[in-house]
């Protein structure tokens, strides 16, 4: 119970300038509210880690929070490119962005190794590609039994792991279900962790598939619809119109900056942003 707090406190306590921050959620349960709070508290020089940096990281990158991106697929799913991400890469605006780029398989092994307390993980992968040319986190290893050469990837151990889950119980244990992604590994690999949840329940029911005990979760914050515009299985659907609208908003620096100002800097929390954005998109 001592880990249940406001999202503002959770971010203030756990996310510092220069940290390596992993925000996960594979199309499902993406922690948008936590991303907004990091922008609101103006964290800088973050090393952002995420398999699928989509709109949530476009916002953080465009707002100038990031110095490096560790990832495997960056796009606006079903819509197109991430304009803020591309402008950071192509034009170093609002600042330069280093890339440490992998495959999904490689990233998931890096997280699993981190969650397991191992310095590296092994996979059959990366061969015949240019992926290994621009990263120092993929090397070769020889099987001590068969002599086969395999890919070794360095473990990911972020300073902070951030996810959204459907539920917490009153002890601060966290439960989620539906598409599971790499969230369990992201939390277990991280030194500290923040979980936003839809609600606090007395008891988890059998549909809950992953439970993270309170003693591996630094902070739990109740943020209803905190994964919007992504979805929370059993709570609400994906807001596809928001993703489409983002293409327009993010295309222009000034429109983007104005949006960040209005929706994040000038609001005190995520519910104020939701109140602005949801009615206008409700008709779609």
């Amino acid at each position: 119970m001592k880990n249940i707090m406001t999202l503002a406190d959770a971010v203030a306590l756990n996310v510092h300038d220069g940290d390596t921050v992993a925000m996960e959620g594979f199309t499902h349960l993406i922690p948008f509210a936590a991303g907004h709070e990091i922008i609101r508290q103006q964290r800088r020089d973050l090393r952002l880690v995420r398999m699928t940096p989509d709109v949530i990281y476009d916002q953080l990158i465009g707002a100038g929070c990031a110095r490096e991106l560790v990832f495997s697929w960056g796009g606006n799913p079903g819509v197109g490119s991430l304009h803020r991400f591309r402008e950071a890469v192509d034009l170093a605006y609002p600042r330069s962005l280093e890339l440490d780029e992998h495959s999904h398989a490689g990233m998931s092994v890096r997280y699993s190794a981190g969650a397991s307390g191992l310095p590296f993980g092994t996979l059959r992968g990366y061969v015949g590609t240019d992926l290994t040319k621009y990263t120092d986190n993929v090397r070769r290893i020889t099987c001590p039994f068969t002599g086969e050469s395999l890919a070794a990837v360095s473990a990911l151990n972020p300073d902070v792991g951030v996810i959204h889950a459907q539920q917490a119980d009153r002890h601060g244990n966290v439960g989620f279900w539906g598409i599971l992604g790499v969230q369990k590994e992201a939390i277990l690999a991280s030194r500290r962790s923040i979980v936003t949840v839809e609600e606090v329940v007395d008891e988890f029911d059998p549909s809950v598939r992953v439970v993270l005990p309170h003693w591996v979760v630094s902070a739990v914050a109740v943020v209803p619809r905190g994964a919007h515009p992504s979805y929370a299985h059993g709570y609400y659907d994906r807001d596809n119109a928001y993703y489409r609208a983002w293409d327009e908003i993010s295309r222009d620096r000034d429109v983007f900056s104005q949006w960040i100002q209005t929706h994040i800097m000038n609001t005190s929390d995520f519910s104020e942003h939701l109140a602005m954005v949801e009615p206008t998109l409700a008709e779609v």
Partner: protein, 258 residues
């Protein structure tokens, strides 16, 4: 299964994407275990499942195994994929336990650029550090293409997409050709077919070079050659693609409708 009347009469009322999707769907055998990317691969796999291949097993990298969505999903992580799945596993598990050991019959991918050996680029156009166009990156493709028993590729054919030399190799196909893929370690057999808006290409059994084996109705060798950034090999027994049937088109539109 409800009995449906099959109308095998050809139609010319279709888009290029619809044709590509239908040709791709035909390539899937009933019972194939297919690791599906989003877009045409996903639509084609669902079309196959709802027509000639009801027992095709669809796996998405979001960890959903044997999903049976009623409509083509918009993203690889749509809620319906989890709801209709036989099993949902974590992303690390789907890659480690299901893809990597070679359990997947067909890896089904799109790409931005392709070379004559079916290697793919989905990372950058131009120089990596100073790109002309920054693309999304690798995603699941490198290991899907490595581990699946065979790979099917779907992309529009143009001088910009079918290039002599990739700006960046994101995903290996037949590597440098002439069986060189086999030197990369334990892996599946690589690209078996490339389906474009102009025709169908398959690798030469000796050199692994992609060869035009079929032209879609109304398309010409000249169009195919002009849309290819290397001197395109044409099969001696070049065929014409069987046009979509009314049944196929109707099934496709049912699957795609939202």
């Amino acid at each position: 299964m409800t009995a449906e009347t099959v109308d095998a009469s050809a139609t010319s009322d279709y888009t290029a994407d619809e044709l590509m999707t239908i040709v791709a769907a035909r390539e899937l055998n009933n019972g194939d275990v297919v690791f599906v990317g989003i877009g045409i691969p996903s639509t084609a796999a669902n079309l196959a499942r709802q027509t000639h291949a009801p027992d095709v097993v669809l796996i998405y990298e979001s960890g959903t195994i044997d999903t049976k969505p009623t409509k083509t999903p918009l993203s690889i992580g749509d809620g319906e994929l989890a709801e209709t799945a036989l099993a949902v596993v974590s992303v690390p598990e789907i890659f480690a336990y299901w893809l990597q050991p070679g359990r997947i019959d067909v890896g089904f991918l799109g790409a931005a650029q392709l070379d004559r050996h079916g290697n793919l680029n989905t990372t950058v156009i131009g120089d990596y550090e100073h790109p002309k166009v920054r693309l999304p990156g690798a995603g699941g493709a490198p290991e899907i293409a490595l581990a699946s028993k065979r790979t099917m590729l779907v992309l529009r054919q143009s001088a910009r997409s079918f290039v002599d030399k990739l700006d960046y190799v994101t995903t290996v196909g037949h590597h440098e050709g002439n069986g060189s893929r086999a030197t990369l370690g334990r892996a599946g057999n690589g690209p078996a077919i490339v389906i474009t808006d102009i025709g169908v290409l398959r690798p030469d059994p000796v050199t692994d070079e992609l060869t035009l084996v079929s032209l879609h109705p109304g398309r010409t060798i000249e169009e195919a050659t002009a849309a290819t950034g290397w001197p395109l090999k044409i099969a001696d027994d070049l065929e014409e693609t069987t046009p979509p049937t009314l049944t196929e088109i109707e099934a496709l539109r049912r699957v795609s409708a939202r």
